[in-house]
């Protein structure tokens, strides 16, 4: 490459050997060594050959002898000297010739080597992908080897005489700084390497080529700058490939930067090898800073970093991609995000061989939404479970999709088990509803079947069945809602009864006066009659005596004829009628005027006294046989109520208990009177150890005219009046708990709120 140019440069002219010049040189040499005098003589002889010597010898003896001898001696001497000189000269010449021969041989060998080298150089030059260029001291191209044209397709002649920047007009315009620097180098006569530029002349028709050139300055023997000489290579293909690669990389870079997910690669120590913009943004820095090896590995929450590194190492260890479904990542702003990350191992030269590419998708919102959905689902499940109604969701073909808790209880089956089964199989009582389900879906409106009757354990139950069509997109089906309204039906019938009783009460109040007067006449009349025919009054005896009637006999007569018994019957009938009227009057609403604070214990004791002296009780049952237990809550003293009314209720309950125990002949009859304070209520309880009641009886116990007693024993109004008094007049509750053979407990609950009114 740095070989000499001019392979055909003129060779130094060959020096020819000639004896004359050799003799001449020999003479000169001889003279110099004999004597300067002789040399001077020689010079004289050569300068003027005709002055003496040859002419004298020819003319010879005509001259004087002594003169001749005188002349001959030096002549002979001269000849001897000359001969000696000649011999010397010959020896010298021989030596010289041998030396020359040697020199010649050496030169020929060097020239041969040079020619060979030149040939090799030429071959290399011709064969090389590079070309050789030369510039003169004005930096204009003076020479370009053939390869230039072959490689670049640019006509060499169009380049010679131009400077490099003239050759690259476009590039020069595009990168003036690069060129300025290059020009400074050249003008400073400095060597340069691998200068790359594009040859494209402004307005030129050829496509530009990318050239890479190196060169060094050339100086002549005297150190003067003679120009540049160097090599050049066409790197257009390489440059294009590089450019394409660069563009492709740029495009990829843009694409991964456009992706909103975090894309990054890290080596096994956790250093970022690559990161996209989303990643950099999450770390609150730039991509450049992130991929810088000096970026701190400990950036972030320590546990998260540890976890991520462990995951990365696991991926590298298994050399298998792995999806991390949920990963906690706290970003630079402290926001905790949930990421779903795909980790892919790959080989990265220079990163200890292994690295992990991660693609992390921010699923925070998705996760929140999912959690919200789950929460909502649970919430709704709780809501539908909390409903007392039986809810059965079915598809259009009647297969169960949803059951709420009451439905699970009713059907005796869990939701999971019931799913996909036909609802009529799980709830046989609803089988007939399939038609309604289909109809509801078809018509898109709910269908109600009120008061459907079911037989549950031998008892009649009522239920309202409602079929709602479901109107979600593309999902059709229906919800069957069943409300057990048995209790409501009972309450309703009770309310109807109550209403009846109220009207009875109203009626009774209106006509009480009219009935009570004749009843008074009957009762008072009976009393007077019995008194006046009896032997007890002094007036009777006086009147009888005056009329001559034997009062004792008369009495015996009346006894005999059953008149006394009949009179007693009139009296009792009157009493019973009066009682019925009084009970009926209880159904009318009382004014609050009769309400007062009443001492509960006092009231209980009063009622006990009343019961003990109760006419009916005394007659048929021995109340004293019943042991009374008192369990009074000292915390409960006064209750706001209508004393006579509540006394009536308590008396009713006591009588009821006594009668029940007497009828069942309970061996050790016992009644517990208990008071207690509950939140908001005063509780008064009458508990017996009598025969108890069946469920059926319990449910009807407060119905008016419902009685288990023999006809004539009770009016059938006692407990319903009590119920009315407690619930309607006192806004309280009257409840009963009983089981056959286990006694009965009646509980009166009166609101305590009224205490404050007093």
């Amino acid at each position: 490459m740095f070989m000499l140019r001019r392979p055909r440069s003129p060779r130094p002219p060959p020096r020819r050997w000639s004896p004359v010049s050799a003799l001449g040189r020999g003479i000169r040499f001889k003279a110099s060594i004999v004597s300067p005098l002789l040399l001077a003589e020689m010079r004289v002889a050569r300068a003027g050959s005709d002055v003496f010597g040859w002419d004298y010898l020819v003319r010879g003896p005509a001259e004087k002898v002594n003169y001749t001898v005188l002349v001959l001696i030096p002549l002979i001497l001269l000849v001897v000297v000359a001969l000696f000189w000649c011999w010397l000269q010959r020896q010298e010449a021989l030596h010289r010739s041998r030396q020359l021969q040697r020199e010649l041989n050496e030169r020929q060998r060097v020239e041969e080597a040079l020619r060979e080298s030149e040939a090799r150089f030429r071959d290399v030059t011709e064969a090389a992908s590079d070309w050789i260029w030369e510039m003169d001291e004005h930096l204009r191209f003076t020479y370009l080897s053939e390869r230039f044209e072959a490689l670049t397709g640019i006509d060499t002649r169009s380049v010679l005489g131009l400077t490099r920047w003239e050759l690259a007009g476009v590039d020069f315009g595009a990168n003036p700084q690069k060129w300025r620097k290059h020009r400074e180098t050249l003008e400073g006569h400095l060597p340069f390497r691998d200068f790359i530029y594009q040859t494209l002349l402004i307005g030129g028709q050829s496509t530009g080529r990318y050239l890479k050139v190196s060169g060094k300055p050339v100086h002549d023997e005297r150190g003067r700058f003679r120009g540049y000489r160097g090599t050049g290579t066409d790197i257009t293909e390489q440059a294009k490939a590089e450019e394409a690669l660069y563009q492709s990389e740029l495009r990829l870079r843009r694409i991964i930067d456009l992706v909103p997910h975090m894309i990054f690669a890290r080596d096994r120590r956790g250093h970022f090898l690559l990161a996209n913009r989303a990643t950099a943004a999450a770390y609150g820095t730039t991509i450049e800073a992130l991929v810088d090896p000096s970026y701190p590995l400990s950036h972030g929450v320590p546990e998260e970093i540890e976890q991520r590194l462990a995951d990365d190492l696991a991926v590298i260890g298994d050399w298998e991609s792995r999806l991390i479904p949920e990963e906690v990542f706290t970003d630079h702003a402290g926001r905790v995000r949930t990421l779903q990350t795909m980790k892919i191992p790959f080989s990265e030269p220079g990163a200890n061989g292994a690295a992990v590419l991660s693609v992390a998708i921010d699923i925070t919102e998705q996760k929140q939404a999912k959690e919200e959905v789950a929460r909502m689902r649970l919430y709704l499940k709780n809501i539908i479970d909390s409903m007392p109604s039986v809810l059965i969701g079915v598809d259009p073909w009647g297969y169960i999709t949803v059951l709420n808790q009451p439905a699970e209880q009713t059907g005796g089956i869990s939701w999971e088990m019931a799913q996909g089964r036909f609802f009529g199989d799980v709830f046989p009582q609803l089988e007939g509803q399939f038609e309604q389900v289909q109809q509801a879906i078809r018509q898109g409106c709910p269908i109600k079947t009120p008061r459907m009757t079911f037989e549950v354990e031998g008892e009649l139950h009522y239920a309202d069945v409602m079929v709602y069509p479901l109107m979600a997109d593309h999902v059709s089906g229906a919800v069957i809602r069943i409300d057990d309204v048995t209790a409501r039906v009972r309450i309703e019938s009770m309310m109807v009864q109550t209403e009846k009783m109220l009207s009875v009460g109203g009626l009774a109040a209106g006509m009480a006066h009219e009935i009570n007067n004749p009843l008074g006449a009957i009762l008072q009349g009976s009393q007077n009659i019995l008194r006046r025919i009896g032997p007890g009054l002094a007036q009777n005896h006086a009147a009888a005596k005056a009329l001559g009637v034997d009062l004792t006999q008369l009495n015996r007569y009346l006894q005999e004829r059953g008149v006394l018994r009949l009179l007693e019957g009139i009296r009792e009938a009157g009493v019973r009628a009066a009682k019925i009227v009084a009970d009926m009057l209880s159904f009318s609403r009382r004014s609050e005027a009769l309400f007062a604070l009443v001492d509960v214990e006092d009231m209980m004791e009063t009622v006990l006294r009343l019961a003990a002296s109760d006419y009916d009780l005394k007659k048929k049952y021995d109340f004293k046989r019943i042991s009374i237990e008192r369990a009074y809550d000292p915390a409960l003293r006064a209750v706001y109520c209508d004393k006579t009314e509540i006394e009536q209720v308590l008396l009713n309950l006591l009588k009821n208990a006594a009668q029940a125990m007497a009828e069942a002949e309970t061996p050790v009859p016992r009644i517990v009177l208990r008071t207690a304070r509950e939140p908001g209520y005063a509780v008064l309880e009458v508990i017996d150890n009598g025969p108890g009641m069946e469920e059926k009886t319990l449910k009807r116990i407060f119905e008016p005219f419902f009685t288990t007693k023999d006809v004539g024993v009770g009016t059938g109004l006692g407990l319903s009046v009590s119920y009315f008094i407690v619930t309607e007049q006192h806004n309280g509750r009257l409840s009963v708990a009983s089981k056959p053979g286990q006694g009965t407990c009646f509980s009166i609950r009166l609101p305590l709120v009224r205490e404050k009114l007093s």
Partner: protein, 129 residues
């Protein structure tokens, strides 16, 4: 003057039965079917310490009759015997010293308590100067 008992009741058999019972108890009884008749009898100079008053009378309300009698004869005491279920004592009657124990509801199964009350009231009046 022995203690007369005044009975005002428009129901004849009630009136007669009460009268009979109290007379059997040895009391002097004057019974009238209206307040007007009772008043005219009293204006005739009759004196009685106790009156058993019905509420629903043909000429006036029993409460009014009591007020009039009380004005005219402040020493007179009253028992109320009514067939009305919703009767309650007016405040001004309570102010006269009447209370719920004076109220007897029809029908009376037993007249003994009423008779006892009359006797007690009459006795109390007699003691008074």
């Amino acid at each position: 003057m022995t203690g007369w008992v005044l009975i005002v009741d428009d129901e004849e058999m009630i009136r007669e039965n009460l009268k009979a019972y109290l007379e059997d108890e040895g009391m002097g009884v004057a019974a009238f079917e209206s307040a007007t008749l009772a008043l005219s009898w009293l204006r005739g100079g009759a004196r009685c310490p106790v009156c058993v008053m019905d509420m629903r009378l043909p000429d006036m309300d029993g409460n009014t009759a009591i007020r009039i009698l009380h004005d005219l004869y402040p020493e007179m005491d009253f028992l109320i015997h009514t067939g009305s279920s919703s009767y309650s004592l007016p405040e001004d009657l309570r102010a006269m010293g009447l209370d719920d124990s004076r109220v007897y509801r029809k029908p009376l199964e037993d007249m003994a308590p009423l008779a006892a009350a009359v006797r007690a009231l009459a006795a109390a009046r007699e003691v008074r100067p």
